[in-house]
Symmetry: C2
Subunit: 362 residues, 2 copies
């Protein structure tokens, strides 16, 4: 069922891309814009947001609204826009296993002195995709008032994700010892949970005509699930195979991301280890060696066990909320399966930790 | 009348700002976001876009929709978002006579090694203001279908302005001799006319229930007027007092903007002067001396006379279109007065040219 929705989303993405030229005449404006947008949008992805939007809808709807799956594309486009701007800010070269948008554009520029670069072009392409996302959302047919309310949720998702990104950057300027668990959870809530889980589900539920209480509960469910997912994603980011995550393990450390994992490790380590963390986090460039050091400190401080407990706690809380949503049982089961899938730490990860354990014994 | 609408818009902007904290809890998220948005939005500006939106509406409406002026704020916010991203791309330090958003944010950061800068924060604030713009647009009361159609026009304005910005950047990589007048007009149309003139008028007209033919005519009217305005703005940008324009005269040259003025000067100059232009345009930094050189070449090539003829031609075409819009005569007169005001090259400018003429005689 989940897979079936995903296949449908992929089809819609492809047909959306085919219509892009016809609907907006982007090619006559700039073939480079059209080509870059197409390439980026069609990259492999989990499509979590459009899928959750559809589940949010189907869980409360009597029948499928015409254009529902088409309008789900908006959530993937919104994600693409955010990834593009994020990668500029984080100076990331790789996205979904391929060059980030700004790097891809930079490579297409003539080799001569220019007053602009790939990042400048990528800021603009991000803004354009933001507009495309809004436009395609409006294609769903239905009660205009519900559509407007659902659109307002989409808008608020961008607003709060942006704010979350902003405070995460500011937190980067703060010493690790002054960062609280509450700070970290606030960022997880705004930067991940809201726009990846809560808002897509809520947007679908609103369109389907769910009532206020149901919407509130499904929002809270999404927030809990999203925070749990972010914690798991931090573990994968640091220990997972980069062929699976699509980005190097060094990324979070390079960006000095204040993750829950790192927060716990910092507060449960020797002062010698704390100094190592501080040094790596303030360095301009980090190396493979530093990754191993951080991994070792995280393992020694039992921060993975702590993180797993947090994930379990949040998962249980979210499951209990799910029962109160009034969603059709079939879709509750679907969401439960989905959350198990995304929250389970796959065996290959443990293998990786073992490997590190052998290389650098405690 | 025009002034009356402007005063109303200013009031709405202020009350919008007052409600910002209450409606979005931005302060509890980050006081810096809220403070920066407030400061930037309240800077002095011409408010052309919200005013034209109101005129577009009032010119076709039976009565004023509740929330109309509130929703006009969206067009000023949209402009703010674009200015913020533009200033990052153009590396501009000054906006509306004050530090650009990225510079203002940079100055608030602690003086230590950080993994991000004011530009990164400003990308995000731009995205957040984009969301705020969409949200406040939805506050107007009216037929939901007309609201949706009007919103689609707003979205397309961002889409095409972004595309216009993109092709303008790419044009920066092209040699001046390969740039055509058509290229320049295409950018003027997409980057200025559409979102500053045509789209605000059309958005208002749609909301008021104007018919398809009327909307098409008012759109074309806005495009013509906007191109004329951009040509005049280029003259002011180069020769006007920076205390009036809010940015240094060097800006366009520093950014190597391919303006109509420059295109004409290039094609109507001696080969020696062409070489000077080329050299200045490919230099990394330009100085006051270069500004004088360019000004002199533009005066010698009679490019201002050419530009003024183009403005007059476009003004006449737009006036003839205005008569066909079916807009209430009162508002036609208002638009005619408005276009005269914004297209007239004020005396202080000639004074400035005279001054230059004396300093550097032909």
């Amino acid at each position: 069922m989940f897979q079936k929705i995903k296949i449908r989303i992929e089809q819609e993405l492809k047909s959306y891309i085919r219509g892009l030229e016809k609907n907006y005449h982007l090619k006559s404006l700039s073939p480079l814009i059209l080509r870059s947008i197409k390439e980026f949008i069609l990259r492999k992805g989990k499509r979590i947001r459009p899928i959750l939007f559809c589940i949010g809808y189907l869980g409360f709807a009597e029948k499928v609204a015409p254009g529902l799956f088409r309008s789900a594309v908006s959530l993937e486009l919104l994600h693409d826009f955010m990834l593009i701007h994020d990668d500029i800010i984080d100076k990331s070269d790789i996205r979904r296993g391929k060059p980030s948008m700004h790097l891809m554009l930079q490579r297409q520029l003539p080799h001569k002195k220019l007053k602009f670069n790939g990042q400048d072009l990528a800021i603009v392409i991000g803004d354009v995709i933001y507009a495309l996302a809004l436009d395609v959302f409006l294609e769903v047919k239905g009660d205009p008032k519900l559509k407007e309310q659902s659109l307002k949720q989409l808008i608020s998702a961008v607003l709060y994700t942006g704010s979350g990104e902003f405070i995460e950057l500011l937190l980067g300027a703060r010493d690790l010892k002054k960062v609280t668990k509450k700070d970290i959870y606030k960022i997880y809530q705004y930067k991940t949970s809201n726009y990846t889980f809560a808002s897509p589900l809520v947007m679908g539920a609103i369109l389907a005509g769910a009532d206020k209480k149901q919407i509130k509960t499904i929002f809270e469910y999404g927030i809990k699930l999203g925070i749990a997912f972010q914690i798991k994603d931090d573990i994968i980011g640091l220990f997972g195979k980069s062929s699976d995550t699509g980005k190097p393990n060094l990324t979070d450390i390079q960006e000095a991301k204040k993750t829950l994992l790192l927060w716990h490790a910092y507060h449960n380590s020797t002062s010698k280890d704390r100094k190592i963390i501080e040094k790596i986090f303030s360095a301009k460039n980090v190396e493979e060696k530093n990754l191993c050091q951080i991994q070792k400190i995280i393992l020694n401080s039992k921060s993975i066990d702590f993180a797993k407990k947090e994930i379990d706690k949040l998962r249980k809380e979210s499951e209990s909320l799910l029962q109160d949503t009034g969603m059709k049982p079939k879709y509750q089961i679907l969401l439960k399966e989905f959350s198990e899938k995304i929250l389970t730490i796959e065996p290959y990860l443990f293998h990786s930790i073992d490997t590190i354990g052998k290389i650098m014994p405690r």
